[in-house]
């Protein structure tokens, strides 16, 4: 902490303000839209719910997947949402009418504009290219990373990326490279254009890499492994800069998040039913949010407000909204 330019403001705790149960089974993913006006949640019941980020009222339900949905990603303009499902497809949903009409939008309308077929097993993760939003990267249990042209729905590239299921793919902010993590314990960086492997950041057989994402500025990656660890890594050198611990993560691919709207935090779910908030620089646990009654599988931070959404697995099924006191 001594090198930090300005002392951090005193930590103001988050508290639970809302809870909702939009799905009949476990919540698998929660994602605020980049515009901050919609919260999307995915569930093992195969549906996707669009909710108001303040009241958690359901605005629309997206039906179409025939099996559980594991991951969601918004296009940068918040116009489209893509979902990765165990039915081996990725679907692209048009959210424009929801953004335009707000609560008046027809909740049951079929908003699916495209089905991306090609994965030969469960699709576990999908991510929009933040620059063009015409490109989607996906990964799944067929151990491949695929790059799709969102406009035509064509699979532009298939990369035999890993030897075990791919747990996460994430584009860097300029869309030039992709990070992927896998159950084979490795974390690799790919050239989004050519599909070439540029770097193997982690090359261990164990533990499985359950989650990997770029930092907001694209200089670091946040990597979670199934040995209760969450690390900030300089992907150019492969060195771990910060290690965040104290939570439990042995089984599930828990999605973490960077919180940058107030202080700089790392937020993650945990298998002890809590949401953990660490200080980015100091690595100390700032807060444990208690309330869920099962593993917290996914968290998302609102793009502009000091708000965290979290979702719990089957014994809980709830979506919870946490707000920082002002």
């Amino acid at each position: 902490m001594s090198q930090q330019p300005a002392p951090p403001p005193p930590y103001r705790p988050y508290r639970q303000v809302r809870t909702a149960t939009p799905h009949s089974r476990a919540v698998s993913c929660v994602r605020f839209s980049p515009c901050g006006r919609v919260l999307a949640t995915a569930s093992l019941d195969g549906t996707i719910a669009l909710l108001s980020p303040s009241s958690l009222a359901v605005i629309a339900v997206l039906r179409g997947h025939t099996d559980g949905v594991s991951d969601l990603s918004w296009s940068t303009d918040s116009f489209y949402l893509c979902s990765a499902s165990d039915d081996r497809t990725i679907r692209i949903w048009d959210i424009r009418s929801v953004l335009a009409g707000g609560a008046q939008a027809d909740p049951g309308a079929d908003r699916c504009v495209r089905v991306l077929r090609g994965h030969t097993n469960f699709v576990f993760t999908a991510n929009f290219n933040p620059q063009t939003s015409s490109q989607i990267a996906s990964g799944g249990f067929d151990c491949t990373v695929r790059i799709w042209d969102a406009k035509s729905g064509r699979c532009a590239r298939t990369i035999d990326a890993h030897s075990e299921p791919v747990t996460s793919v994430h584009f860097i902010r300029d869309g030039s490279i992709i990070v992927s993590g896998s159950h084979d314990g490795s974390c690799k960086i790919w050239d989004a254009k050519t599909g070439a492997c540029l770097k193997t950041v982690i090359d261990d057989k164990k533990p499985a890499v359950s989650f990997a994402m770029f930092s907001p500025n694209g200089k670091f990656i946040l990597v979670a492994a199934l040995d209760d660890s969450l690390k900030l890594c300089n992907f150019a050198t492969g060195k771990f800069l910060k290690v965040y611990g104290g939570h439990v993560n042995r089984v599930y691919c828990i999605q973490s998040a960077f919180s940058v709207t107030n202080g700089k935090y790392i937020v993650s779910g945990s298998e002890d039913n809590c949401v953990y908030i660490w200080d980015l620089q100091g690595r100390n646990i700032l807060q444990k949010l208690e309330g869920h009654t099962d593993t917290v599988i996914s968290v998302s931070c609102h793009p502009t407000e000091n708000k965290i959404a979290s979702g719990g697995l089957d014994n809980d099924k709830t979506l919870r909204l946490w707000v920082q006191d002002s």
Binding site: M1, Q3, P5, F79, D94, V113, R114, V115, R117, G118, Q131, T132, S133, S134, Q135, T144, R146, D149, A150, K151, S152, G153, R154, C155, A156, T158, I159, D160, I172, D174, I177, K188, I189, A192, T194, G195, A196, C197, L198, K199, T200, V201, D203, S215, P216, N217, G218, K219, L232, F235, A236, G238, K239, F240, L241, K242, V243, V260, L280, Q281
Partner: protein, 570 residues
Amino acid sequence: MNAPIVDPYQGEFPETIEEYLHHGTMKCIAFNRTGTLLAAGCSNGSCVIWDFETRGLAREFCDKDCTAPITSVSWSKYGHRLLASATDKSLTLWDVSTGEKIARITLQQTPLRASLQPGSPTPSICLACPLSSAPLLVDLNTGSTTVLPVSVSENGNPPAPNPRNKFADGTPPFTPTAATFDKHGDLIYVGNSKGEILIVDSKSIQVHAVILIPGGTVVKDIVLSRDGQYLLTNSNDRVIRVYKNILPVKSSREEIRNISTNCNDYASHYDKLKANGASCLILSCELSDAISKIQWKAPCFSGNGEWILGASANKGEHRLQIWNQAGRLVKILEGPKEALIDLAWHPVEPTIVTVSVTGYVYIWAKEHVENWSAFAPDFVELEENEEYVEREDEFDLNPREEMAEELEIDENAYVDIETYEKNAMFSDVEDSVAEITFLPAIPSPDAPDEQPEKCLGSSSKLEDSNHSGSPSSMDAVQNGQTIPPASSPMEVDNSTAEDPAEGPNSKRKRRLSVKGLEMQQSEKGKKPGTKNKSNGKSTKFSAKQMESANGNSSAFDDEATEDDEVNIDC
């Protein structure tokens, strides 16, 4: 941003056709400033924009008024506007983000080339080079035109005050005259039929300097490098000449005015202009094909200005030559047997895009070589065997060095996860202007008959698979022409059922690269009809391609001659 892990020495030249784009019949192309979008003008009067990252069609601009073949396309500096010139003598300005037509102007003559003034983000002035008159500055808002001077009389008189009088002063009929803006649009370089480069002030339309080109033949093209440091001319004497621009890139107009007003003790005005010219451009090298002495087509600089690219203007030849700044030939690229009509070098990447008379756009890129050490972080690739020298403590139980390494990382060090640097490659971007680098994709709805599992397979397999078939064969199928007998029904199925989702007429295909091209080279001497069964599909591909090219040759040749004659002599 990804700079630390991208190998900077990954090579400078494209090597092979990586992919081709197909949408209607494309005639001319232009990259936007950052190379993320590629605009193309089509023979049906429409303009298309390709997302060069995904190689997908991003936009199509068409209008009931625009039906004549496009002769050139030009981007405004930050990609907000696209100007298209067409054979119906029109200039059309499109708003890139909305797809609306902003202006349409009809000139007296067909503009062969039109470029927007590079200085302004939303330019209204463009430079048009018509078929048979002097270059014009056209105000797209008002439609007013200003004719640029194309010659300076040598008898010592100053140039005619009103350049419009040029038509009457007994000069020979105008040939198409090449002209280009300088980097910021302050000056215009005009290459005339006498083999002179005139430097004209874009505001006062005054000739400031003259540079005589050795040989003194008609200048067909005049092109500035992306950074504005170099200028090249393509003359009718089959030589490309590269000039170093010694005027400052910024405030070049002030500088040249200073030069012009400085000394006045010359025998004639013309001598003075020549003297001025000597302090503007310096000839740095001459490029030509010493053996076959071919005419050049559409020469240009690479994005970094280090290489010069020229294409053979011969019919039925798709051949590119790359020289370095010292004038040494460094690479020859040979493509399909189709004449080349336009080309562009990507602003930052070692990628070249060429347009063939068939209307296909070919993308030439570096061959992707797998960097195996990327897969194993502890491994280093060696060029040759090396003797391994064991470290002193290598087999110690407690190696000292590793312990030292562990200590290197200070977990308390401050990390910044938010700030990022702008790409240094494009340092001239003004922050106030929001550049359009990508067009938001609108996913087109699923086609009802879409086949499931439509995936092109793994990338490595794609490289040598010729699943995509030959573009020409597809062309033939699409034009409703009979399929050459050499093609098997299976292949036809392949090409028609290629990708129903992409829309009826736009295609983007990965081509067989090395193998296919090699095969094609080896097939060159053979008659189109011959087919070597043992070589399998690749042979079929090239044989078929030649055949269909031959089958359509009359139509293509007509097009080619039309273009060629315009640019070579008239």
